[in-house]
């Protein structure tokens, strides 16, 4: 029992920190633009594919470094020559633009790489168990994922709250005109934030690709969960996004690891149904089966009891 719990916690943290790499960029970009970037997870997918192709020729580590740089550059270009132009036409136009971009990226990936799942592998160097506990192995690659994403989290925290650039970003998000009057190039700052945000999404794709499989639907799978996270956390709140990322990561991991099903709960209450009952499928559901919908369940609960999200501010 204890080992199940420990491993579920570790895996939950790995997922949670990975989700935060996407959620943090999405949150920052939302704060700047005022709209959700529906293409954010597409940059995550691009990261995985670029890293896969680079790894074929130059190995995993080259991909790890260059794929996020390429994705970030693409992101900055999209902001500079796409979103900034569309911005003048209002929020609806921006939303439509990011929707279109998400489709475009998915179609391009299918065009260049095909529809099949890519054989993007973890590097040999990390192909060993990091430690063994109660006879169960925790792979070095998962440890590596955790180290990278915690490192990114600390760096992001430090830059945003302690550095001058971070302070300028914080102020530019709420008071762009005032910051511009003080001599700071706000459009350039926004382009930089967009670039870094998409590069982080790309990095998440690079390290998640080998584990969560690299296929054209990977953006949709993770993207919807990341949207749920930023809404649960409270739109625009980085701290909220962090809490929600870990919450969802752990929740899903515990649900998958647990063996508890409806029959156990019902028999606890002294209720039982025979197998012929028409709703038999419902009564015999177990938690691992529900795990994928848990984030959405949580979303509904949060929207009912706290519509602004955990740490969100009320609309003015």
């Amino acid at each position: 029992m204890l080992e199940v719990f420990i491993f579920a916690t570790l895996n939950g943290l790995v997922t949670g920190f990975l989700l935060f790499m996407l959620a943090s960029g999405l949150t920052l970009i939302f704060s700047m633009m005022g709209v959700l970037n529906f293409a954010h997870a597409s940059f995550y997918m691009l990261g995985a594919y670029f890293a896969y192709s680079l790894s074929l020729y130059f190995g995993f580590w080259t991909g790890l470094i260059f794929a996020p740089l390429i994705v970030g550059t693409l992101g900055a270009l999209v902001e500079r020559y796409g979103l900034r132009k569309v911005h003048a036409s209002g929020h609806v136009a921006e939303l439509v633009f990011t929707f279109g971009l998400a489709f475009l990226i998915e179609e391009s990936i299918q065009f260049f790489w095909g529809r099949d799942t890519k054989n993007y592998q973890t590097p040999d160097l990390l192909d060993f168990p990091l430690f063994t506990l109660f006879g169960q192995e925790f792979s070095a690659y998962r440890g590596f994922m955790m180290a990278i994403s915690i490192g990114i989290f600390i760096a992001l925290y430090y830059v945003l709250t302690k550095s001058r650039v971070g302070i300028i970003i914080q102020a530019a998000i709420t008071h762009p005109q005032t910051v511009s009057n003080l001599g700071h190039n706000v459009p350039l700052i926004f382009m930089g934030v967009f670039g870094v945000g998409t590069a982080l999404a790309g990095l998440a794709g690079v390290i998640a690709g080998p584990v969560l499989t690299t296929f054209p639907g990977m953006a949709t799978v993770l993207g919807s969960i990341v949207f749920v996270i930023v809404i649960i956390g409270g739109l625009g709140s980085l701290a909220g996004a962090f809490i929600a990322s870990l919450l969802i990561g752990l929740l899903q991991s515990y649900a998958i690891a647990s063996d508890v099903g409806m029959p156990d709960l019902l028999s606890l209450l002294g209720i039982s149904f025979d197998r012929g009952h028409p709703l038999n499928d419902l009564w015999t559901m177990n938690l691992p089966q529900i795990a994928p919908v848990l984030p959405y369940l949580l979303l509904v609960l949060v929207l009912i009891f706290r519509p602004t999200g955990l740490l969100g501010k009320r609309e003015e």
């Binding site: 001058r164 302070i167 300028i168 914080q170 102020a171 709420t174 008071h175 005109q177 005032t178 910051v179 511009s180 009057n181 003080l182 001599g183 700071h184 190039n185 706000v186």
Partner: protein, 231 residues
């Protein structure tokens, strides 16, 4: 230093500035007076590039009409807006840091000096800007602009809602700023501070300059005061 010629500005269809002409020389304190709603704030916002300018604005020999706000700031023009736009969630020190255009302070001012001039701000260096009193916020806003080492600053109604004692402190600061060779355009409604520290004054009415003179001449001009200023 600053020369504004035939400046027009619009909010939607309403023609707010209708040919504004004035100038500020090096080291000068010049006041822009007038009643509510005549377009004084719009004038400084237009110079700063917040509102689209039509006409000519020369600053230190450069045509700045059409330039972006951050470019104008980089040329050495500072602006202290009337709404005391401090960053409420950042500390006093962080607010000051944001005024600097580079990573290290340079030029006429530095943070320690600001703090010794304003012990109130020094005491609350690590307090969030939003927790300061109105007067302290005004001082912070001014100091923040000075941290960028401007050669000229435009200050919009700094005395609004301040206690007389703080207004006096502010007048002294403005004098000190001018002594260091920084030109000042002071937008005011109250005559007293403007008469006390200005070298020259302009009075604005309905989108145009209607009077130009010195404090002495304005004191004599009862008709101007009666028609364009509330006395």
């Amino acid at each position: 230093m600053l020369k504004v010629s035939d400046l027009h500005a619009f909010y939607g269809k309403s023609h707010i500035l209708q040919g504004v002409n004035f100038n500020v020389a090096e080291g000068e304190i010049v006041s822009l007076l007038g009643r509510n709603g005549v377009g004084r704030s719009t004038t400084v916002k237009t110079i700063m590039g917040e509102v689209e300018p039509h006409g000519s604005i020369q600053f230190k020999g450069n045509e700045i009409a059409g330039k972006k706000s951050f470019e104008i700031a980089h040329l050495g023009l500072g602006y202290v807006p009337e709404n005391r736009d401090i960053f409420p969630t950042l500390t006093v020190r962080q607010n000051l840091t944001l005024g600097m255009k580079t990573n290290t302070p340079q030029g006429r001012w530095n943070i320690d000096e600001m703090f010794s001039m304003f012990p109130n701000l020094a005491e609350r260096a690590d307090v969030q800007g939003g927790a300061l009193s109105g007067g302290e916020q005004q001082m912070l806003c001014m100091c923040r602009t000075l941290m960028g080492d401007p050669d000229m600053i435009m200050i919009d109604e700094p005395t609004e809602g301040l206690a007389p004692k703080i207004v006096e402190q502010l007048a002294n600061l403005l004098q000190e700023i001018a002594n260091r060779g920084v030109s000042i355009l002071l937008v005011e409604q109250k005559l007293s501070i403007a008469l006390k520290i200005s070298n020259r004054l302009y009075v604005m009415g309905h989108g145009k300059i209607v009077y130009e003179g010195t404090p002495e001449s304005l004191l004599q001009a009862d008709d101007v005061k009666a028609e364009w200023l509330e006395v």
